[in-house]
Symmetry: C2
Subunit: 205 residues, 2 copies
Amino acid sequence: MAEQKATNITWHDGDVTCAERHSNLGQKGATLWMTGLSASGKSTVAVALEKVLLDRGKHAYRLDGDNVRHGLNKNLGFSAEDRAENIRRIGEVAKLFTEAGMITITSFISPYRTDRDLVRALHDDADLPFIEVYVDCSLKVAEERDPKGLYKKARAGEIKGFTGIDDPYEAPTSAEVHLHSDTMSVAEQVAALLDALEQRSILSA
Amino acid sequence: MAEQKATNITWHDGDVTCAERHSNLGQKGATLWMTGLSASGKSTVAVALEKVLLDRGKHAYRLDGDNVRHGLNKNLGFSAEDRAENIRRIGEVAKLFTEAGMITITSFISPYRTDRDLVRALHDDADLPFIEVYVDCSLKVAEERDPKGLYKKARAGEIKGFTGIDDPYEAPTSAEVHLHSDTMSVAEQVAALLDALEQRSILSA
């Protein structure tokens, strides 16, 4: 867990309540945290869900593993420490977007249970909805897809510490949504996610 | 400038255009970047502006120096390197919020021109509006206010590297908005900021 380094800092409360934000946006904020192997289809379902929500006039924003690594987390690599810091920062940013009232869709491998649980705790502490989504796909199928050729490189030893090959993926044990992305269509997966949002009254203010 | 460490990453385009986001939100995104001495009134005007925007049904979100240091940047202190990384991360997050269509109000001392210019460049490169706001208050007035007793501690040598005392504040030379917070009322400052947003057609889609 990151140590609090700065001292002499105080909290500034705003003059805007969550209810006002929600009323303006016609929805509540929530973090949908996709986790799964590389090539399990996290980004595919995230992009599709974002599009469907926007088409319905809702406000969603997607934080993507690869994209964030070009910006906020460009100074992080793939060591155990850097992976943890990668997820910690993204968790904090997702929390801010959700506090702002957005439906925040993250798609990161996020292989370690401890890291995901820290992000969940961040949201719980702030009383913000955190919906863990297990994008479940067998290693066999993910490796057959291999759209970026990464599994091939990992098997050849050209990439070290690759999740599923020589680094563990710790599957969620109590994810709010469990998508079987090797057997469900993208539309079916999106429907399951919309259902999860509706059950939690996220799509109305 | 932060080095790109991760390799084997690719960019995922979404299926949602900026125009769709703006149409849904009834506004465009923009980053209002407040800079000024400690106690110059950055947070005060940021809180007031956010409230006025929300009251008008607009969507604004405030990133605050002190608040962000409790979360995203809790592992950063006040060394030159950490200060630069603090601003870099906030700049990246502001850019994401603005890309999402929010009116993003940041209030950080951000004393170094180089750091602010990097954040401006980030926005320019993505064709996102960046409005630098110089919250200009004399050191004398800021030090008289000293709501957190920080200037007193800095003068006593209990805080080292304090902006304006033993660390420089590099005033903006070409800020889009120049607020004289020691002579203008908060309402006057908010009006100037609304004017800047209206001039740039931010408040309509």
